[in-house]
């Protein structure tokens, strides 16, 4: 169920704090079942707007990400599975 790779997209962990982006694709295969389920529970889906808000103080990990009306924390390694298109 991978969407075609969009060259202008970047991975979510590369997105600057405070910048909004729209989810282009999620590489579900790199996630374990439980992890993928949780991301879906949090509302991660193509077309959804996300915005990184905070970084963990140690090693800039984990990331606090606004998704819809929720703020969720995920690790950098999981954020790499999410490709986003920055919103102008």
């Amino acid at each position: 169920m991978n969407a075609p790779f969009q060259p202008e997209s970047i991975s979510l962990d590369q997105l600057q704090i405070g910048l909004r982006a729209s989810i282009a694709s999620i590489d579900w295969d790199t996630l374990e079942d439980g992890e993928a389920a949780r991301l879906r529970h949090f509302g991660f889906d193509e077309g959804v707007t996300v915005e990184p808000l905070h970084l963990g103080p140690f090693g800039r990990d984990p990331l606090a990400i606004r998704v819809g009306r929720m703020t969720v924390a995920i690790r950098r390694s999981h954020a790499r599975a999410v490709r986003v298109l920055p919103v102008a």
Partner: protein, 614 residues
Amino acid sequence: MNPLPLVAVAGSPNAGKSALFNALTGARQKVGNYPGVTVERHSGRLTLADGRPIELVDLPGAYSLDPASPDEAVTRDVLLGKQKGERQPDALVIVVDASNLDNHLRFALQLIELGLPTIVALNMIDLAKRDGLELDAKRLEAELGVPVIETVAVRKRGIAELQTALDDLLSAPSCPITERVPTELILLQRRARDIATASVISESPVRRWTHRLDSILLHPVAGPVILAAILFLMFQAVFTWATVPADALEAATLAVGNWIGDALPDGPLRSLIIDGVFAGVGAVIVFLPQILILFAFILVLESTGYMVRAAFIMDRLMSSAGLSGRAFIPLLSSFACAVPGIMATRTIDDPKDRLTTILVAPLMTCSARLPVYTLIIAAFIPPASVGPGIGVQGLVLFGLYVAGIAGALLAALVLRRTVVKGGGGQFMMELPKYQVPRLADVAIGLWQRTAIFLKRAGTIILATTIILWALASFPQAGPGEKQSDVSIAGHIADGIHTIVAPIGFNKDISLALLPAMAAREVAVAAIGTVYSLDAEDEQGLQTLEQRLSGRWTLPTALAFLAWFVFAPQCISTIAVTRRETNGWKWPLFMVGYLFVLAYVAAGATYWTAVALGL
């Protein structure tokens, strides 16, 4: 078989479900466990307007019916009528956060599909308004096809309306549940978003409180500093605020003990009551104020939403020890008691993360160790201060907590590379809105936890003290003999003493080690019992501190403290570990490695202290 109609309260995490449950049932709740699993079951009664009683059950928070944790599995099984020890609910109250409808409606839609009579509580409507969100409850009702009631659970708003709606719902003839093909989650999610968008009347962008607070509390520099300050304040508070009520309790126990002692004739009964019950249980009850303060801090941190931020800050450090930030909450709860802490590990999805957390949880300084620490510190560490508000006693206590944490992280690291290898390690959690905690909700939580502690003091500890009193009292010492030498307990202690003598433990400590397995705080009670039996010649009851400081050397006291940082845990912890890991393998492993750690730590402390000439 209970004939009362059963109504389940369900909802996503952070929907304010427990607050709504509290508002509906009040403080009269029953806390139990679902059989076979260690998921807590909270239930309570509610009387409807026509006088009909119903039973309300608070289901664990879940994001969907396809579970990613054991808690969510229980929620699913109860709702589908497949949970052992629970009948299928007759009706549902679904709690959703008004300002997070896009997400919470997904689970609500899934639950409505079950076909049970259902009401949706549109909760925290005031916070949504504060955030500039105007919602159309009628439109939502039309979209969902079930009654929607606006509520503010923490202010008890909408509760009466909810009860009326429940009344109507249970009076209407219920239709049988039909098996339906579950709709795919992602489709439900998209539909939830559409409904949420349709239900919004207006939205004005407001800089939210939560974001402002997070920019300070999750700041890369300020965040960890504030966290450390909060934890430090917590432990200073445990030591200082509790002094007055603890002293009062101690004085009262002494007074009542002396009064009964004077009234009773000399003999075994007087000895049992004074030396067994009063000296034993009294010594533990005295620590209730401290335990209450600790529980209160943890409850407030939980209900404000700060606990999750602490996990966020700590995740990277925890992950370097092979744990997840999620382990931070169970481990922090273990500061109160390892039993609920180990039970809280259910929220950790990864089984290896979870096992490691369980194995190191007993290293967190539980409140049962606090009586031991407090007693020894009060008896041996001077009450001097090294700065405004910073006492040496508080510093030593802080140091003991730090030693436990360091030990746990180190143990986790070693365990992750040896016996619990592999596993990705994950950290995925919601950062809920900050909330001002409601006093009544904190009070209910505090009462439930206190009841558990008092029950333990009243049963396990009382029984252990009485058995120990018997072992320590018989056979009776002849003239010129010391009671603690000739008794059965004395002989058992002699055996233990040969093992622990190299690490500086005297016979009194040897005598306390065995009953300490029942519950750690019994060590204090045990020492109390031994000393009051030996103190026949002294006038009245002396405080335990006075007796101790005359009998132990400083290195011995320090070694005893070090032992208790790592000490093998109480029977309840072993039992809950067996239950949570499904077998004896891991609890036995845990006891073994903790024994070795405690022995080495106490020995190192003793010999260092002796070498320094303390």
